[in-house]
Symmetry: C3
C-alpha cells in the first residue's frame, strides 16, 4: 500500500482502499484519533453500534471509517465504507507512521570490523554490534542496543533501545523487540553439588522466527545444549519470561508477566493470559487458551480453555469457584443437617 502523508483527503484514502465514500471527499485528514476524541481534521473508526452513538456529537468535517450499516448518513460527516473498519484503520495507521527509516551506522556506535551490517540497516549511537554479528536489510538497531558475538538479525527488524541479544541468538525477518528485553542469557540449570549448587553450563541458542513481536523487558534464555525457539508470528507482551529449551509454536500469544519454566512446549496458537505460570517439561496443546494467573502444572490438551491453579478446564474451574465463594453457605447447611439428624436420633 506504500506510505501516506498528512494532510490527505477523505477521497484519497477511499481511493487507496477501493472503498466507497459517502459525504465530502475533500474533507482533510491531518491526524488519526479515537472515536472519543474525533474532531474536524481527524479520521476515526466506528466498528460497533456502541461507538456509532458518538457520531451525532461530531462536528462537521470529521472523517469516519465505518461499515455501511453503522454510518449515520443524515449527519454532515464523510464516511469511508469498508467491511472491517478496525483492520483498515490499522493499515492506514501503519502507513502513516513509517518508522523514520534511518540508514547507516552512527559515528557513536561501536561496530566490530568483522560484523556484517547491510548498507540499508541503521545502527544508533551507543549501540554495540560485536564480532561476527550480522544485521539484515532495512533493520533498525536503536541506540543502546547490544548485539552480541555472532548474533544474527534478519531483515526489516526493529531492535529497540537497551535490548540485549547476548549470544547465539538468531532473529528472523520483520521481528520487533522492545526496550530492555534480554535474549540469550543463561538458563537456570542447577546441579546439586557437595556444598551448594553448580550451574550447568548453558551452551545453546535462541531462535526467533519471522514476524515475532517481543514486548519490553522480556527474558528469553538460551537452550542448555539445543535451542529455545519462538515460533513464527508469535506475539509476546511485556515482562514475559521464557525458560531454556522451551519451544513456542506459530502464532502463540503471551500476555504480560507470563512465565514459562524450562523445556516446555506451547503448540501453535496457544494463548496465555496475563501472569500465567507454566511449569517445566509441560506441553500445552494446539489452540489452548489459559486464563489469567493460572498455574499450569501438567500437560493440557489443545482446543480447550483453562483456569485456576493448578489448571482445570475453564467451565469446571468456574463452577468450583462459585461453590468456593458460597462455602460459608454450604458449610452452614452441613451443620444444620447434622443438628437435624442428631436431633432425630435423640428422639
Amino acid at each position: 500500500m506504500g506510505t501516506l502523508d498528512f494532510p490527505i483527503t477523505a477521497g484519497q484514502i477511499a481511493q487507496r482502499f477501493n472503498a466507497e465514500l459517502y459525504g465530502d471527499s475533500e474533507s482533510l485528514v491531518e491526524s488519526l484519533t479515537s472515536v472519543q476524541n474525533a474532531q474536524r481534521g481527524t479520521l476515526c473508526f466506528v466498528a460497533d453500534k456502541k461507538s456509532s452513538q458518538y457520531l451525532q456529537s461530531f462536528e462537521k468535517g470529521v472523517v469516519v471509517l465505518t461499515t455501511k450499516d453503522l454510518a449515520r448518513y443524515e449527519l454532515p460527516l464523510s464516511y469511508i465504507l469498508v467491511s472491517e473498519p478496525k483492520v483498515v484503520f490499522a493499515q492506514i495507521a501503519s502507513a502513516f507512521s513509517p518508522k523514520k527509516a534511518r540508514v547507516g551506522i552512527s559515528e557513536k556506535a561501536d561496530v566490530h570490523t568483522s560484523a556484517k551490517v547491510d548498507p540499508s540497516a541503521a545502527i544508533g549511537p551507543f549501540a554495540i554490534v560485536c564480532e561476527g554479528a550480522e544485521i539484515g536489510p532495512n533493520t533498525q538497531i536503536y541506540p543502546h542496543a547490544y548485539i552480541g558475538p555472532k548474533v544474527k538479525v534478519g531483515a526489516q527488524c526493529e531492535i529497540h533501545p537497551h535490548v540485549t541479544l547476548l549470544v547465539n541468538v538468531v532473529v528472523g525477518d520483520r521481528v520487533k523487540i522492545f526496550s530492555g528485553s534480554v535474549l540469550g542469557s543463561d538458563g537456570f540449570g542447577l546441579i546439586q553439588g557437595d556444598e551448594g549448587h553448580l550451574e550447568m553450563p548453558q551452551l545453546g541458542c535462541v531462535v526467533v522466527e519471522d514476524d515475532v513481536r517481543i514486548g519490553a523487558h522480556c527474558t528469553i534464555d538460551r537452550g542448555t545444549l539445543g535451542e529455545t525457539r519462538i515460533g513464527k508470528g508469535s506475539k509476546l507482551d511485556d515482562q514475559v519470561h521464557i525458560g531454556h529449551n522451551c519451544r513456542l509454536g506459530r502464532n502463540t500469544i503471551l500476555c504480560a508477566q507470563v512465565g514459562i519454566a524450562g523445556s516446555s512446549v506451547l503448540e501453535d496458537g496457544v494463548i496465555l493470559a496475563g501472569q500465567v505460570g507454566v511449569g517445566d517439561h509441560i506441553t500445552i496443546g494446539k489452540g489452548a487458551k489459559v486464563g489469567g494467573q493460572t498455574g499450569v502444572t501438567s500437560d493440557l490438551k489443545g482446543g480447550e480453555s483453562y483456569f485456576s491453579t493448578p489448571a482445570m478446564p475453564m467451565r469446571h474451574a468456574l463452577r468450583s469457584h462459585v461453590f468456593y465463594r458460597d462455602l460459608p453457605h454450604w458449610i452452614e447447611k452441613i451443620k444444620l443437617i447434622e443438628k437435624e439428624i442428631h436431633g432425630n436420633s435423640k428422639s
Copy 2:
C-alpha cells in the same frame, strides 16, 4: 528546610525542627542509622514501644529522635522530641542526602541540537536526548538513559541509568523513574488477521503527572490513540506493568510485580499489593485496597478491601479460605452423615 551537612550537633538538629531537646545538645551526629545499629555519633529514631527497648543497650552519646512518651530520660542519651519521629527522620535523611546536583551536559552524552535542556539540568555520559525533547530545570538525566524524540521531562526529576522514555512521553515535575523502566513502548493490541495476528499501530502517549515515583523495571505502554496516564503522587514499586490506555488516579500505590491490562482505570488512592493482576477495561473504585496476588476480573467498588482470584471482598475471601483449608474435615462430615442416613434407612 535546606540541606544539612555532617557532622552536626543534636542541638543544631533540634533547632532546625523547632524541637525540644533533652540531654547533651553537643552530641555529634555523623551519620543516620536504624535503632538496631545505633552507636555514638549516629542519629536513630524510636517511634514505638518495641523499639524503645533498644534504648537501654545504647552507649553514651547516641542521639535519639523520639516522642516525649518514649524517651528514657534516665539514660545518658540525647533526645530530640517530636510528635512524628519517623516523618521527621525522613525529612532529616532527605536533607542529608541531597543528590549531588550535577549540572551540565556530559561530553559523552548525545544530545540532539534541537533538544531543549535547561541550563540547570544534568545529562550523564552515554545518555541520549533525541530531537525535540525537553528537559526541565534541575532535572538529572543519569548515564545510559534514553530520552526519545519529543519527550518532555519537567523540573526536579530523576531519570536513572538505563531508563527508556521511548516516544510521546510527558513527565511532570519532581518525578523519579528508577533504572531500567520503559515508558512509551507499544501497547499489546492485536487484530485477528487471515493468518496470524496483525498489530494495531500504537500512536498514543504516556502522561506521568507531578510527584510520581516509578520503581525499577516498570513498563508503561503508550495509548493506542489516546493516553496512558499515571496520576499525581502515585507510587509504583519495581517490575510493575501498566497496559495501554490505562488511567491511574491520584496517590495510587502499586506494589512490586503488579500487572494491569489495557484500558483499566484505578481511581484515586487505590492500593494494589504485590503481584496483583487486573484484567482489561476494569474500573477499581476510589480508595479500594487489593491484597497480594489477587486477580481482578471485574469492576470493584471503592472503599473496600479485596482478596483472592477472582477478587472477592476481603472478609468473604478469608471466610471462604478458612472453609477451604478445612475442606477435608467438612467432606468427612458429609460422608459420615451419608452413612448415618443410609444406616438409618436400612434399619
Copy 3:
C-alpha cells in the same frame, strides 16, 4: 582442571577425569551436544535409562559420558565411564567455554580516575565505573554496565551488559549478574503524609556474597538504613524482585518472577518456585520448599513443603485442592441429603 580446546579425543577427556574408557580412545570430540542431537564428533551424556535408549540410534564414533550400568557395550561408540555423568559433563562444558578473558579498559568506557580497577579486569565499551568504585581481579564488566559511586565488585565476577549497580552495592567473588538486573535502587518505603505519601529516604546498601548467581532483570533494592543481603551460593533466576532489608541465607534458590516484599528473611537452603510471592517481615525457615505461585503471608517453619495462597503445608494444600476440584460433586451430595431428610421428615 584447567581449560580444554576442541578438537580433543575421547582418550584425552578420560585421562583428565581419571575415568575408565571403553571403545575407541581416538574418537574426536569437536563439540558438546544433547543426547537427542548426538552425532559423530560430539560428546553427549547419558544419565538415566530413558536417555540410554537413544544410544542404539547413534552413528559410529559418538562419544558418550555415562555410567558402567548404562553403557551399551555392543554398540560401536566410545564410552567414558563415571559415576555422575551430568556433573562431569557440566565440568567439561565449563572447561570448554571459558569466557574469553578480555583484559583492560575499553577506550570507549567511562571510568572515573578515582575508581580502582584491577589490571586483570576488563571494562567494555560504553560501560561506566563511577568515582570510588572498585573492580577486582579477573572480573568482566561487560559493555553498557553501570557501576555506581563507591560500588565494590570482587574477583572473577561477570557483570553483564545493561546491569545497573546503582549505589552502596558490595559484590563478593565469583558472582554472575545477568543483563538488565538493577541492584541498589531505592526500596519502596512510604509514609502517609498530609496529602499523598512521602518517601522514606533509602540510605542503606546491598550486599551480595560470594558465588551468587543473579539472573536477567532482577531488582534488588537497597536497605532503608541497614542492608539487603543475598547469602553465599544463592541462585536467582530471571525477573526476581527482592525488597529492601531482606536477608537471604546461604544456597537459597529463587525461580523466575519470584517477589519478596521488604524486611523478609529466607534462611539457608530455602527454595521458592516460580512466581511465588512473599509478604513483608516474614521468615521462611531453613530448607523450606515453596511451590509455584504460592503466596506466603505468614512465617513458615523450615524443612517442609508449602503450596497455595495463603501458603499451606503441601500435603494439606493438595488434599484441599482435590476436594475443591470435586466441590460440584460434594455440593450435589449435600443437596441430596437435604432432600432425603426433608423427605423423611415429611413422611
